[in-house]
Symmetry: C2
Subunit: 339 residues, 2 copies
Amino acid sequence: MGGDHGPCVTVPSAVEYLRHDHSAHIILVGKPEVITKELDALKVTPNSRLTLYPASEIVGMDEHPAFALRNKKDSSMRVALNLVKKGEAQACISAGNTGALLATSRFVLKTISGIDRPALAVVLPTISGHTYVLDLGANINCTAEHLFQFGIMGATLVSSVENKPNPSIGLLNIGEEDIKGNDVVKQAAELFRNSNLNFYGNIEGDDIYRGTTNVVVCDGFVGNVALKTSEGLAQMLASYLREEFKRSLFSKLAGLVSLPVINAFRRRVDHRRYNGASLLGLRGTVIKSHGSADSFAFHCAIKRAVDEIRGDTLHRLIEHIEVLRHNIEHNVTQPASAK
Amino acid sequence: MGGDHGPCVTVPSAVEYLRHDHSAHIILVGKPEVITKELDALKVTPNSRLTLYPASEIVGMDEHPAFALRNKKDSSMRVALNLVKKGEAQACISAGNTGALLATSRFVLKTISGIDRPALAVVLPTISGHTYVLDLGANINCTAEHLFQFGIMGATLVSSVENKPNPSIGLLNIGEEDIKGNDVVKQAAELFRNSNLNFYGNIEGDDIYRGTTNVVVCDGFVGNVALKTSEGLAQMLASYLREEFKRSLFSKLAGLVSLPVINAFRRRVDHRRYNGASLLGLRGTVIKSHGSADSFAFHCAIKRAVDEIRGDTLHRLIEHIEVLRHNIEHNVTQPASAK
């Protein structure tokens, strides 16, 4: 029910997703009359792979998370998370209020033993592929131990959904040297260095899009600023490019000739392809779609949930943390790499 | 003497700058034989507007700031800063080791009364103009009071070099609402709200390039990550665009036709135009050029120093802080806007 557009995006996107993925099953959670109206418009009826689950309330996009948690016990978000908790769904996908989703999923699902706080991880494009960045804003005041846990979660996510053993982890800092950064980052680097994770070391902001490491670890404040700054810069550059191609008759003609090239470029940097942040560290799979997602972007968020389920990210994470804990308790130095 | 290229960039850039600006006087500080060789190659001899001042040592680009401060008492950097201190120069411009420049300038020049820590401010382009962002990495662990001082310094810089009275100040955060962010940012917002500065409120990363405010305030860790992330993204997008225009014979032709447009776009986003970070809060004007600056970029850094001298940034800042202090001490509520 959530997001800037609500069911008129999420319902068609779900229907379309099932046309591509013949073994998935989607449960549409929300107000039955609203969902049915959307399905009617698509000439689709609920079936064995597309079911409807009623929820009478909606969390507003600007509602305070604590208010939603206390008062909206039958919200689509809460009901969907309960389905995950009861094992009736393997993942919850929402385009709704981020703060409410964080608070409610933490309350309903609880964190995995060994993880203090869930983190939001996103995929970002790089010069030669893509990288996973976390945290993107779920955690504002992080300790070194939190950053270390983000590293474990990120590495497990990459190894499970990308089938890439022992992914490299970079710690976002303001210089590569060990002496750089604040105390939290320095202590986190120490934890990484003493672990058997594949720790690359400190990286700088430009290393994100260079793809220097498979995982980029930072606190939620820094990660959120980096991501939003990127969005702003991309918008500015796009606006400049548009203006230059409109400046004169000649440049308009050049724009016309270049249209297929510009379109290929735009497809490649289309941020909708990267939609869907993984909320990691909970006893259940939760994906946060951008509130402004259109049908294609929401499709990508659904795909991300399915990838995590099929990659068994959740159980691998639980296992991975148990191995790390066992090694620490028994002082074992064999590699506890992300399997 | 500093920077990735040394005098073969800085000397020609200084010579070229004086051809454009007929009332400026540049003192080239460093090893006389090296500088003279560069001047000879340009068929230029020292004159009343271009003088030479000897310094026998050079601070290495990777040298530890404390080591440079202790041991390199006749480095070009230190000697140039001494000239500023003695009033023989009105500004020092360096492309050298950033950490050493920060430490040495603070030691030689000292901070303005009322300012705890100097900050690095850069100009960044926006959709409709440009904005000033500080701090960019001089300060890692900032208090609310430091962020507030950055705001005063940024506002004074904008009002003096742009002749823009009462510039707006945005506080970089992860949401616009007052409840967002960590404690330091929340307390800083409170200080701004209780001041008579033109405080816009919290802004997010994308507001930087949107040009929402004239000044963007953040701690040095966040600012450095935001700037470096931007550099990385711009490089990635440029690389993508190049690749798309090279993909086929058709796209190569389209690229050829679009070359004037693409070049106009590149000129517009040319980061060299924004070279030169102001080190604010010292009892003297200091400009840090990017180490990799070429002759054109270094020219822009010289221009920035001259703008600050002509705009009387330093004395306006001293005055502005005195007025603010007076108002706080006497509980005055008249506007103490950046004059």
